[in-house]
Amino acid sequence: MDQSAASGALVDSIRIIGFLCNWCSYGGADTAGVCRFKQPTDLRVVRVPCTGRVDPLFVAKPLIYGADGVLVSGCHPKDCHYAVGNLYARRRLEVLKNFLSFMGIDQRRFRYTWVSASEGQRWQQVVSEFSETIHAVGPNPLARK
Amino acid sequence: MPVELKPKKTTVAYYQGCSLEQMASEFDVSTRVVCDALGVELVEIPDWSCCGSTPAHSYDPLLSAALSGRNLAIAEQQGFDVVMTPCPGCLKALKGALKVFKDPNKREAFLEILQMPFQGNIQAVSNLQLYFETIGTEAIRNRVTKPLTSLSIVPYYGCLISRPPDFMQFDDPENPISMDRILEALGASVPEFPFKTECCGATYGVTRNEIVGKLTGRILDMANRVGAQAIAVSCPLCQQNLDLRQAQVNRYWRRDFHMPVLYISQFMGLAFGVEPESLGIDKLFVEADSLLDILSREGERDQSVGGKMA
C-alpha cells in the first residue's frame, strides 16, 4: 500500500486483466491473432459469456489487489448475443469508472469498450492504446510487495 | 455597444461585402428596403473589410478565415449573435472562418493571425435564410400589396447557397426551394426549373469569359424553355454573369436572349409596393421595363375592378 515503494517496480511486470465476452470480443481478439496483428503482451484474458456477467466487483477487486489495468470488452450495444447484457454492463461499468478515482484509484486503469468478432484491427488498436495508457500511468501503487 | 432589442423587431449585423458596394449596389439597396419593410433592422458592421473571396481561399483557407474573422470579431464586439450577408461568396468565407475557429488544430494559428478577441458566439446566415427561416413566407405574404400574379419567374440559386449541405446547413442542395416559396408568396407563378444550382461560370467572367458564355447560356436557355419571363437570383456574381454578360452570351451562342435578371429582394420590393427606382431596377443591364409594364397593367386592372389593393 506504500505509494513510494511502487516506483522501483519494473515496467515489464505490468499486468492487465481483460474480461472478454465469448461471442464478440474474445472472437475479435482471436481474429486479431489469426491476422497476426502485433500486440503488447501485458494482457491476460478471462473469458466470460457476456459483459453482463462482469460484476463491477470483478473489476474493482484486481485493482484493489494490485493489477495495473482492467479492460472489459463486449459486443457492440444492440449486438449483444443475449440482447441486452451489455446494456446493463455499460451502466454498471460506467458508474464504477466514475467511482474509482474517488476512492483514490486512477480511473485510467479501467476501460470498457465494444469490439465485435470481426474487428481484429480494432482489437489490436484497443489493446495497444490501453497498454500504452497503463504504461504511462505506471504500476499500481496498491500492488502488494 | 449593446444592441437594444425591440419586441417583434429583429436586429442583425449586416455584412454587404465589396460587390454590393459597387457592381451589385442595387442588391444592397433593395435588401435594405425589404428588410426594413419586414421589420428587420440591419446594422452595417462598422468599418468592415473584404472577406478575401475565392482568391484568399485559393491562397490558403487560413488567410481567408482571418480576413473574414475580422468582420465577425467586430460584429461580436458589437454584441451581435447573427450576421447576415446577401453575398453567398462572403457567406462561405464567414462560415469558413467559424469552421476554422472551431477546429482545435487551427484555432491557435487563426487567433494569432487575427489578433482580435473572438469567442465564436456568432453565426452567419444568408439573406434567404433570414427571409425563409426567421421571417417566414407567411409574414412575407402578408406584406404583399402588389402581387406579381401575372409573372412567371424562375429562381436561380447558383452553386453556394445550399452547398455543400453539411457546411451551409440551409435548404436542399439539389432542389432548393426557399426562393420558390418566397416568389410564390409574392404571387408569381414559378415553373419547375431544373438548373437552379447549375454553375454560371463564377469568377471566370474576368479571366475566361467564354466559359461564362457557355454556362450562363445554358441557364438562360433553360429559363426560356420553361417559359420564364424573368430570373430571380440572390448572388451578385450570378447576377453579373446572367445580366451584365447576357450580351456576351448572346454573341457566344448567337442567340437573342432578353431575360431580365432581378435580385430576389427587388422582386420582394416590387410586390411590397416599393417604387422601382428605390430598388435600383434602373441599374439592371437587361432592362426590366417589360416586367414593370406588365405589373402596372395588372395594378390598373385590379384597381378598375375595385381590387383589394390598398
Binding site: - | M23, G52, S58, C159, P173, Y204, I211
Partner: protein
C-alpha cells in the same frame, strides 16, 4: 501540360504527396473508387486537361507533378457539385482547393492568368481593406496582357454608375494589412518547421 502516355509509376510516384493532400484537405483520397460522378457533375469538365476523377486518380497514384501543374485545378470554380454528389463523401472541391494551395506553395501554377487575377485581388484587399473593381479589372488586364478583357462591358458599366472611381479606404486597413503580414510570418515559420 502534355498528356502522359506511359506512366512509369514507381519513377514518378511520390507517396508523400498523398499524405500532403490528405492533411491539407482533411479528405481520405483512398475512399475514391472512380465512379466519375464528380466529372459527370462538373460544369468545367470540358475545359479541364484532366477531369476531376482523373485528378483524384492521379493523386491516388502520387503523381504530384502532373496534378500540381494541371490546368484543371485552376479552372475549378469551387461550385461544390462534385462534393455534393460524391457517393464516397469526399469533399472533392476541398481537395481541388488544397491542390491549388499546394501548387502555389510548390511554384507549379499553370493557370497563371487566374493566379494573377487572384493575386491582384488580394493586393487590393491588403492595400485598401476592400476590393475595388474599377482598379482591379484594368490592373489585371494589363498584367495578364489581355488589355481588352471585358472592354466591351466597360462603357455600359460606367454609364450605370456602378463603378466608383475612388477606392473606399477602410479605417482599419492597417489591421487588414497586419493580417496578411502575420499570415505570411506564420507560413514562413511553418515552412521552417517542416524543413
Amino acid at each position: 501540360m502534355e498528356r502522359v502516355h506511359t506512366l512509369a509509376i514507381q519513377a514518378t510516384s511520390d507517396p508523400r504527396f498523398i499524405g500532403e493532400v490528405e492533411r491539407a484537405s482533411g479528405q481520405q483520397i483512398s475512399h475514391c473508387y472512380q465512379c466519375g460522378n464528380c466529372s459527370a457533375s462538373c460544369a468545367y469538365t470540358y475545359v479541364y486537361d484532366y477531369p476531376a476523377n482523373q485528378i483524384m486518380r492521379l493523386v491516388q497514384l502520387g503523381q504530384k507533378d502532373i496534378v500540381l501543374t494541371s490546368k484543371a485545378i485552376w479552372l475549378c470554380a469551387a461550385c461544390q457539385a462534385c462534393t455534393t454528389r460524391c457517393p464516397c463523401n469526399i469533399d472533392v472541391a476541398k481537395v481541388m482547393e488544397s491542390l491549388r494551395v499546394l501548387s502555389r506553395q510548390e511554384k507549379k501554377v499553370s493557370g497563371r492568368d487566374i493566379q494573377l487575377f487572384y493575386d491582384e485581388f488580394l493586393k487590393l484587399v491588403k492595400r485598401f481593406g476592400r476590393v475595388f473593381e474599377t482598379g482591379l479589372l484594368p490592373l489585371f488586364g494589363m498584367k495578364a496582357k489581355k488589355p481588352f478583357t471585358d472592354m466591351d462591358l466597360a462603357p455600359r458599366v460606367i454609364r450605370k454608375g456602378k463603378l466608383g472611381l475612388i477606392p473606399h479606404k477602410v479605417k482599419g486597413r492597417k489591421h487588414v494589412e497586419g493580417i496578411f503580414e502575420r499570415f505570411e510570418a506564420y507560413c514562413s515559420r511553418r515552412e521552417k518547421d517542416k524543413g
